[in-house]
């Protein structure tokens, strides 16, 4: 093999170098749309050009044929790569799948096979020969039938790619038209070069097709990587314009549609953008003639327009601007429309709810007002205006809230709200008097909340109510309570005094009667003894009554106190029932006491009062029991309490009377007889004492069978 390289091959070498570099560079940037097939195409062109250089440099037929055949790998595959690039670049990538690619490659593969085996059949070249021109050896082959199949196939693929690209380019925005024509030129170049060579239109023997592809490559690569044009341009309209949610219509000077996107059509209720291009805009907007009429001669607008009625009503943000050319003459208008129905609905909801709340606030009988951070009134509802004796809210606005507060307590009120502000207490409630016009004193009870703007407190909001009447009623009640307490105390003091004054003479009567009874003043006759006994019994009764009255008085006036100490329940029961058994025996009753060992030996409490309770209950039981028994049982039902249970077999208490039995001055039988003598305070006192001890008294009774009084007392 011998070669003859000449300077005239340098441009071809440079083209090959450039193609190779572009292949590498594009491959590195293959995330760009169409970059992968583009890189492959450049690699094929590179191979084509390199082989072509060696073919040209070859000085004998076999050498030239070897490189020529090798070159055809690039020649046959380049149109396929070109088509793949064109399709991918114009968003038809999905079309290029493995099956279709394989189908597309059938013809190129066959071509290569025919070329390799051309010596056997001459289908590709009918004659292979060398010729010389200007001192160069050149291949001068005569193309066979398959060559033309190959040529037709290649042209077809290149043409399809070209059409696809041109169609995409035509949709580019106007400002890119310059680049567009340039790119168009770039893509057409190899096609033209090839036609020139194949059909020998110009008498040169060097194939310029590969050069043509290099020009294409430079043009496209420049656009692709320098302007990044190829990244967006072909999809700019489709994706940006059709993809945008805003409707867009471009009109020419005669109000005909130049472009319209999906969103615009959808808003109008149409589809298929192509068929509306060139039509008057009034035609497609015939539904809304008033809109067309209104904007007929408007050059610039930014409006919110409403179309339709009822449930299909929609709101659009319409913006209209006019396009001018370099000579400032109008060439058309751009209309964009944004569907703002949802926003409008939300807005109207907000307005509605605002109106609703305003209505509530304005019509509230409660006083609602706001003050700024300095205390100046910024809002007052009609109730506030009315209460303070004004007519319009305006008269109050700007006034200081403290000016309405009673002068004597201004400082205190101011301090209260200053503290709320400083401590950032969210809500406070305060009551204080304010002065309305005319000096009328009005009491307010008001909740005050801090108003925030972000982190910062910008004022106070008050929700208040006039409480003058309540305040007065409360004062009256307080006075009445104090008076009642006073009266009660006076009553207690009186009773105390009375009982003291009664007891002193009783002391004289009882003392002398007893001394007489003991014959301290000489022996008494039997009759005299009996009379003295009667006196003593009466004194005893009277003395009991005085005690009970005093107890009751103390308990009802809450002046009774407990004297607590440790005591033995066993001793207490023994002491308080000593003597009771004598009384029981006298009446023929069985009498027993039982203290359960579980009851603590020492309990903390008022033993005097507990003794009084036991004496009362046992005394009652003995008094009202004619036959049978009276039993006292002391137990401990649980950890926290102990229990004194007095059971008798007396007459019992009817259900209807059970509830009233603990009321003062109550006895079952209101008739005063010897049998039920007593003021009827015993059980009332007992119950009140038990209550005072945080205990509980329970009555179980059945008429004719007997009664059980159970006193439960806490163990502390």
């Amino acid at each position: 093999m011998s070669y003859q390289f000449t300077v005239s091959m340098l441009p071809l070498a440079l083209a090959a170098l450039l193609s190779g570099a572009l292949a590498i560079y594009t491959w590195q940037n293959r995330q760009s749309i169409g970059a992968t097939p583009f890189a492959i195409m450049m690699l094929l062109v590179y191979e084509w050009e390199i082989c072509y250089i060696f073919q040209l440099a070859g000085t004998d037929l076999p050498t030239k044929l070897f490189w020529d055949k090798l070159m055809f790998v690039g020649v046959v595959a380049t149109p396929v790569a070109w088509l793949a690039f064109a399709l991918e670049y114009t968003q038809r990538r999905a079309w290029v799948n493995a099956g279709r690619l394989a189908a597309l490659l059938i013809s190129p593969v066959l071509t290569i096979l025919f070329i390799l085996t051309n010596e056997l059949h001459g289908l590709f070249w009918t004659r292979v020969s060398l010729t010389t021109q200007g001192g160069f050896f050149l291949l001068d082959n005569i193309n066979g039938p398959w060559f033309w199949v190959h040529a037709l196939y290649s042209y077809t693929l290149i043409t399809i790619g070209l059409v696809v690209i041109v169609r995409a380019l035509l949709r580019w925005p106007k400002q890119y038209r310059g680049q567009m024509s340039w790119i168009l030129f770039a893509t057409i170049t190899p096609f033209v070069a090839n036609i020139i060579f194949v059909f020998k239109i110009v008498p040169i023997l060097i194939d310029l097709t590969a050069f043509g592809f290099t020009v294409t490559a430079i043009g496209l690569a420049f656009a692709l990587f320098h302007h990044r044009l190829l990244d967006i341009a072909p999809i700019a309209r489709d994706i940006v314009v059709d993809g945008m949610k805003d409707g867009m219509i471009i009109l020419d000077g005669n109000r005909r549609i130049v472009d319209i996107n999906h969103a615009a059509l959808q808003m109008i209720g149409l589809s298929g953008e192509q068929k509306y291009i060139g039509r008057p805009v009034a035609e497609i907007l015939s539904k809304w003639p008033e809109l067309v009429a209104h904007y007929r001669d408007v050059l610039e607008a930014e409006d919110e327009v409403r179309v339709g009625e009822g449930p299909v009503q929609r709101w659009f943000q319409l913006s209209l601007s006019t396009l001018f050319d370099e000579n400032k003459s109008m060439i058309g208008r751009v209309i964009t429309a944004r569907d703002i129905t949802d926003r409008k609905l939300a807005e109207s909801k907000v307005q509605e709810s605002e109106a609703r709340f305003r209505q509530i606030v304005e019509n509230a009988s409660d006083l609602i007002y706001r003050v700024d951070i300095h205390g100046h009134i910024t809002y007052a509802n009609p109730s506030v205006v009315r209460l303070l004796g004004y007519v319009h809210e305006g008269e109050l606005l700007g006034q200081h809230y403290l000016d309405f507060v009673m002068p004597e307590i201004r400082h205190q009120v101011q301090q209260t709200y200053r503290n709320q502000f400083l401590s950032k207490t969210p809500t406070t409630y305060n009551e204080f008097p304010v002065v309305a016009t005319g000096g009328l004193e009005i009491w307010l009870g008001q909740n005050v909340q801090l108003i925030y703007e972000g982190e910062q407190v910008i004022g106070f909001q008050a929700l208040a109510r006039e409480i003058t009447a309540i305040k007065r009623a409360l004062d009256a009640l307080r006075l009445a309570r104090d008076q009642a307490l006073e009266a009660n105390l006076a009553k207690t003091r009186l009773l105390s005094k009375v009982s003291h004054e009664l007891r002193t003479p009783l002391g004289g009567i009882l003392g002398y009667a007893e001394l007489l009874h003991q014959n301290a003043f000489g022996q008494l006759s039997e009759k005299q003894q009996k009379a003295v006994s009667e006196i003593m019994e009466s004194v005893g009764y009277l003395s009991n009554m005085v005690n009970e009255l005093l107890d009751e008085a103390q308990l009802t006036s809450n002046t009774a106190t407990l004297q607590k100490k440790m005591f033995s329940p066993l001793t207490l029961i023994q002491q308080s029932t000593s003597g009771m058994d004598i009384l029981a025996k006298k009446k023929g009753l069985e009498f027993s006491t039982y203290v359960d060992p579980a009851v603590p030996q020492q309990i903390y409490g008022d033993d005097h009062r507990i003794r009084q309770i036991v004496i009362n209950l046992v005394g009652n039981a003995l008094k009202f029991t004619k036959a049978g028994s009276v039993r006292v049982n002391v137990t401990r039902p649980n950890e926290d309490c102990w229990e004194i249970r007095v059971t008798d077999t007396g007459m019992g208490i009817p259900k209807e009377s059970q509830a009233r039995i603990f009321e003062p001055f109550r006895q079952l039988d209101p008739a005063i007889t010897h049998e039920n003598s007593g003021v009827g305070l015993g059980l009332s006192i007992t119950k009140q004492l038990v209550d005072l001890m945080d205990g509980r008294i329970v009555l179980e009774s059945e008429p004719g069978k007997g009664s059980t009084f159970t006193v439960l007392l806490p163990i502390k």
Partner: protein, 120 residues
């Protein structure tokens, strides 16, 4: 064996007489009708039992009781406090040996006086 001394401090002459008659058989008696005089007498005598009325003209029974309880001289002295006011009776429970609510039963008084005077 000499009879123990009972000091009766009672402003009601009737009650004073009743108590005197009641205790005459078993006690040596001293009587007094007001607080101030009682205090003076207590400077010279050391009674075994004091029957002390709470409500007295002059110094009150409460103050006399406090004085008795604060002097070592009266360590052996027992006090029976008498009162017509059961509330006061409650509060003095711990200071007096016995509190008797008026009206007082002479028999009960005699028994109690004898019992506490025999205590050490």
């Amino acid at each position: 064996m000499p009879k123990p001394l009972a000091f009766i401090i009672e402003d009601d002459p009737k009650l004073s007489a009743i108590i005197s008659i009641t205790l005459d058989d078993d006690f040596e008696l001293e009587t007094c009708a007001d607080g101030n005089t009682a205090m003076q007498r207590l400077e010279t005598i050391v009674p075994k039992v004091v029957i002390l009325d709470l409500n007295l003209p002059g110094l009150s029974g409460r103050e006399i009781l406090k004085h008795i309880r604060s002097c070592q001289r009266f360590a052996q002295t027992r006090v029976i406090l008498t009162t017509a006011d059961n509330r006061k009776a409650d509060t003095l429970d711990n200071d007096a040996d016995i509190v008797l609510l008026k009206p007082i039963s002479p028999a009960q008084l005699r028994e109690l006086a004898l019992r506490i005077s025999s205590m050490p």
